[in-house]
């Protein structure tokens, strides 16, 4: 899987590149409009992370050009201009997703994986960890042969943690992903704990070979056992 990160802020670019590399993607980066144009002229990428505010030209203008040339790669717009207009325009221009800054790396991974799942024709919609099998199309979870019955939110929490397997998921990232933007009061994040508790119990009861570890105060991490 080859990913191109187009981002002008060096630290931001370094964060994204390093984080994506831990997932064994081939990651390349471009710091401005021209560098991006050049790279895209030569190489093919499965996924492009595109910042809107670029030196040398807008990311939206770049997207427009690339789509005109028949770009096949999945595009996720990453923007500090979290305005609805930008989002609508970006998606209309053919971007696959829109991620407003600041975001959690866990969220970026979830979006990238989801995009790759959708883009890969004939690819598997099943995610496997240990003896856990999640069918993302039918939204079912099996442990070995037994089906794990989860409510909608438990399923979303589990899929998100599995997508970010081995990685620390901040509780804010989890809450925003599962409960949506309406959740933005930090003092209410503790309610996530009860969901995690239920999930842990169900996983344990079915002897799943995964475990959800709490990182004190920060969030959770799903690991294989």
């Amino acid at each position: 899987m080859k990913i191109l990160v187009i981002e002008d802020e060096p630290e931001m670019r370094a964060n994204i590149v390093r984080s994506l590399e831990t997932e064994a993607y081939v990651v390349e980066s471009a710091e401005d409009y021209y560098a991006a144009r050049e790279k895209l002229g030569i190489y093919q990428y499965d996924c492009i992370l595109l910042d809107i505010g670029l030196p040398g030209g807008s990311g939206l203008a770049l997207l427009k050009e690339l789509k005109k040339e028949g770009l096949q790669s999945g595009v996720i717009i990453v923007s500090a201009k979290g305005s609805i207009d930008d989002k609508v325009e970006g998606l209309n221009l053919g971007a696959d997703d829109y991620l407003p800054k600041p975001f959690h790396m866990a969220e970026l991974h979830a979006r990238v994986k989801s995009l790759i799942r959708r883009k890969t024709l004939g690819g598997s919609t099943v995610v496997e960890v240990g003896n856990l099998r999640i069918d993302t199309e039918r939204r079912t979870v099996r442990v070995g042969e037994a089906e794990l019955s989860l409510n909608r939110k438990e399923y979303d929490v589990l899929l998100y943690l599995v997508t970010n397997k081995g990685r620390l998921v901040a509780k804010t990232a989890l809450a925003e992903h599962v409960w949506g933007d309406t959740i933005d009061e930090a003092n209410s994040f503790d309610f996530i704990y009860s969901q995690i508790k239920n999930l842990r119990k169900k996983l344990k009861d079915h002897e799943a070979e995964v475990e959800i570890n709490a990182v004190y105060g920060v969030g959770y991490k799903l690991v294989e056992t």
Partner: protein, 421 residues
């Protein structure tokens, strides 16, 4: 009072004074002229009579006014020599009019064949009161004629002259900094041109400073997003290294929580700025009943966790023409507010009435300060991580669409949004 009417009122008053003074002067000048001419006539008549007497002395015996309008009486020489001509205003009974009418009388003496006579000659006078009345009528006509002319002039001519001014005023009345457009009409009148120029310059500088302020908030918020993102990501990377002890983890979590809070604050400010800049243009008919149910569903877990019960009472179906995203933000913020400032075992009740939405909640037993409740950064509770912007956003959305938001306390906190009917 309109400028036109104002000047007209002044002119009307001034004209009244001027015309009155003028009328008095004119009246006396006229009267003087009339007397002069009458006295000349009497003098002439006297001359004619004396001339007649030299021919026909029988006239001397005329002792009655009735014939010829004169009377002659013999007087002593001593009296005659000391006599001067007298012009007298008096009245006399007129047969034809059957009343006393004013007459001008000349009393004079003359000598005829060594004897002295006193003669009174009279002539009928203008009736003074009639003259005054006539004059008054004429002046009243003049006065109203002038007023009518001024009004006509004002309405047709001045109105046309003042057109650029009224046009400017009309545009200024509807002027909004968010949608600056002022079209001044070209004019040859220097004062209006100066006014147009001054207004244009003033507006330009206001628009410029408004825009720069508007962009400052937006840009500041945007510029903050990237460093915030970097900091959060770096700290997450640090947490992920996995070899932190509990104390370090606690410190890290606190730093992250505060960065998240800053992020939320920044987002809320950006949202407020966008609402106030009217950047949410698309509107549609939003069904609030469905929207409240959906958002309350999103809050389900938080209600359960906070041990707060939720009740929706639908007395009416409420449909509001507004931006769908802002509709969701409005309800989310009201519900969040009702939830965050609640207590375990408390309740949140949403009531949908005809053209109104009311959210009530249990909580602090003291009423809040309604005047500062919707201001930015007004925190009236101890909910430490709230941004203090939630209700300002509600207010900003309400203001955008002309809704009214009110607060009331009756053992519960009531927040009511009245939609424009």
């Amino acid at each position: 009072m309109k400028l036109l009417n104002y000047t007209t009122t002044y002119l009307a008053g001034l004209l009244l004074v001027i015309i009155t003074i003028w009328a008095a002067i004119f009246y006396y000048a006229m009267l003087d002229e009339i007397y002069d001419s009458i006295d000349d006539g009497l003098d002439n008549q006297k001359g004619l009579i004396i001339q007649k007497i030299t021919v026909d002395s029988s006239i001397l015996r005329q002792g009655d006014f009735n014939e010829g309008g004169f009377l002659i009486r013999e007087i002593s020489a001593a009296k005659a020599l000391n006599f001067y001509d007298q012009y007298i205003d008096t009245t006399m009974y007129m047969q034809n009019e059957r009343e006393y009418e004013p007459v001008r009388l000349l009393r004079t003496v003359f000598e005829h064949q060594g004897r002295y006579y006193q003669m009174s000659v009279y002539t009928s006078m203008v009736e003074e009161d009639d003259l005054v009345m006539e004059l008054l009528y004429a002046l009243l006509w003049l006065y109203f004629g002038l007023l009518a002319t001024i009004l006509l002039l004002n309405n047709f001519l001045l109105k046309r002259i003042w057109k650029p001014f009224y046009r400017l005023i009309k545009q200024l009345k509807t002027f909004r900094l968010e949608k600056p457009s002022i079209q001044v009409s070209p004019t040859r009148i220097e004062e209006f041109r100066l006014l147009n120029d001054a207004v244009q310059r003033l507006l330009q500088s206001n628009i410029a400073s408004y825009n720069s302020q508007k962009h400052f908030i937006e840009n500041a918020s945007h510029e903050l997003q990237t460093p915030l993102a970097i900091s959060i990501n770096k700290l997450e990377a640090l947490a992920e290294t996995g070899d932190l002890n509990e104390e370090q983890s606690r410190l890290l979590a606190a730093a992250l929580d505060n960065l998240e809070r800053l992020t939320r604050l920044n987002r809320s400010l950006l949202l407020l700025s966008r609402i106030e800049n009217r950047q949410f243009t698309a509107t549609e008919a939003v069904n609030l009943n469905a929207l409240v149910k959906k958002i309350a569903g999103d809050f389900e877990d938080q209600f359960a966790f906070g041990e707060v019960s939720f009740l929706l009472r639908e007395e009416a179906t409420v449909t509001v023409q507004m931006n769908a995203d802002l509709g969701a933000i409005l309800i989310t913020n009201l519900l969040k507010n009702a939830l965050v400032h609640n207590r375990p075992g408390g309740s949140v009740e949403v009531m949908l009435q005809n053209n109104a939405l009311q959210v009530s909640n249990t909580g602090n037993e003291m009423p809040l300060q309604p005047e500062s409740l919707f201001s930015r950064f007004q925190k009236q509770s101890t909910a430490g991580t709230s941004t203090g912007l939630g209700l300002s956003i509600v207010k900003a959305i309400a203001d955008l669409y002309g809704f009214t938001v009110s607060y009331d306390f009756k053992s519960r906190h009531y927040f009511r949004v009245q939609f424009a009917s």
